[in-house]
Subunit: 350 residues, 2 copies
């Protein structure tokens, strides 16, 4: 399957770009043989880097661009003035069906704005959402939105629920994924208007959706539901809070173990177990946020990641292409939205 997949890569996005991008592609290629990369960026930087990886180079179509979208560029400005940038060109390659998906570690807002402009949203989707996998006690859950939509109404949340459901079914291969809306309590009366109305819609819907109801912040780690739906503000804070807590824990565990000789010896003896623990929660393993609801596969890597993290982001894009996520969303959403529009938005219309 992987022989036929081509990914376009923005080589200039990210704190450690383009070196980590090139190295990340090389790592990914080892696990995904046959993948082709169309790589956009400054050739004077990329050519010497690629020379170090002959096997990768054979699978790279390097296309020079001078322009780079900076991290502090506003999305609207980037959209207007960044037409020749590595980011835009990489997205264009998907729009022109040269590539099956795009990966960038650059400016999130600019990437979303450009991707929305070039790839358009899928039928029935007003606003695309950013989704990511998170580790839980039960395995993995998907959470969305993670920052594309700072303020969301009930209708947006319902659309996220549907997109998340399709994602969990098609990519996580969960037969009947459960959906929860993130809230400050599980009682129906809790929360703001958007979550209350969205829950009312999802509870009353005849859609074949397994709507669990409200979940709280600690349900993310518990894995209470397969899909956690939230607005982009709360979702972004929650995701980064998980990351921050993970780092705090990993750091503190090391600190406590290194404080005493028994700690050091125990850590040495238990090293394989501790390594396995650390690896399980390595944030790089969860790198690769997916833009859902677009007419093309677009994956955003964490800007501060290293080669291994970028490699995982490439793998995410590869998997979304393999699993034909967008075909699934399109089909399911057409069915869902015809159902859904027969359901009155009771509270929202008040």
């Amino acid at each position: 399957m992987s022989q036929h997949i081509t990914l376009s890569i923005d080589a200039m996005g990210g704190d450690n770009a383009p070196a980590m991008v090139v190295e990340g592609m090389d790592m990914a290629l080892r696990d995904l043989p046959g993948t082709k990369f169309i790589v956009y960026g400054r050739s004077e930087q990329l050519v010497p880097l690629l020379e170090k990886f002959p096997k990768l180079s054979a699978n790279v179509d390097l296309r020079h661009t001078d322009d780079v979208v900076s991290n502090d560029e506003k999305p609207g400005i980037a959209l207007r003035s960044g037409r020749q940038s590595s980011m835009r060109k990489a997205i264009d390659a998907v729009g022109q069906h040269e590539a099956d998906g795009v990966v960038s570690a650059g400016n999130t807002g600019a990437l979303m704005a450009m991707a929305k402009f070039v790839l358009k949203t899928l039928p029935g989707i007003d606003r695309p959402a950013i989704a990511s996998l998170l580790p839980t006690m039960r395995g993995e859950s998907v959470m969305l939105d993670l920052g594309a939509n700072i303020q969301c109404d009930a209708e947006n949340l319902v659309q996220f629920a549907v997109m998340g459901e399709v994602f969990a079914r098609n990519v996580l291969h969960i037969e009947k994924p459960s959906i929860g809306i993130l809230n400050v309590g599980t009682e129906v009366l809790k929360g703001n208007d958007s979550v209350k109305q969205a829950a009312a819609i999802l509870s009353e819907t005849k859609l074949p959706i397994d709507f669990y109801g409200f979940v709280e912040g600690d349900d993310i780690g518990k894995g209470t539901v397969d899909v956690v739906v939230t607005d982009g503000f709360t979702g972004n804070v929650a995701l980064k809070t998980v990351e921050g807590t993970a780092k705090l824990f990993a750091g503190a565990l090391k600190q406590e173990l290194m404080k005493s000789l028994p700690g050091k010896i125990g850590a040495l003896v238990a090293k394989p177990a501790i390594d396995s623990f650390r690896e399980r929660f390595d944030p790089r393993r969860y790198n690769g946020a997916m833009f859902l609801g677009l007419g093309g596969i677009c994956v955003k890597s964490h800007g501060g990641t290293d080669a291994l993290g970028f490699c995982y982001a490439i793998k995410v894009a590869h998997e979304l292409v393999t699993d034909q996520l967008n075909e699934g969303i399109k089909e399911d959403y057409a069915r869902f939205s015809s159902e859904h529009h027969s359901i009155p938005l009771i509270a929202a219309e008040d």
Copy 2:
């Protein structure tokens, strides 16, 4: 100092009440000798429990109440119909200056509504906030609001910032605490209107406040700032996300260690270090959310906690009384708000 402190206790709030409440008081008394407790609840349950702790009993003034505020009671209903409840009577004891502070593990919304009604807010405070300490890489930070105010405007956030600053100075004894507003990015253009306006006000203020600017979810664990300011929706989700991630980590670490013989042996050798790690992040140590901005000390224990957790909540109340938090808030806030009202709420007035 502790000889003179009297706390009123709602013995009926919490999943494991009243047993864990009585045991928690006994634990707290060992570390805070001389503390007196006025205990409200069903005497038929409490008398046999107290008999097991003769030393505690000597410091308890037991006052029978039949009524209990249930967990699913709406705050408004509890306020009107719960006048004879253990929760309300315990708050009344503070209002009538019989007790220096109240601790309850019951219904948060009802506790806040009753406390606000009985104790009133401090001058200049529109809405009290719920605050809690959180473990960080640098030690501890305070975060507020954690759920009292689901929707907040810029003015609310500014008031939280001031209350948090006073708290960090008076209770955490940090000379010049730094304040950050939780957001989805650190650039000034990011976020919703409330956080942008609040940041603009705090940046322009001549108040002697060390305003850091925006922080993100991962800054909570890093301890980037001493005071993390946010609305009650986001704060509640962030707090519970920290708790959930902590549980996920502790569980997964144990799981990985117990999987293999080297893991088990290593864990045994390193037991003191691992215990110390677990203890450092034991959620019970961070139990005891503080209601800031009220005319009396009120501490909310987690409903699902055990005796040790309740003991920590009592210690929090004791410390707030000892440090005369409310005196500090009153003095500082009077100074702050006279300053603050001279600063135009530029964006908010638009």
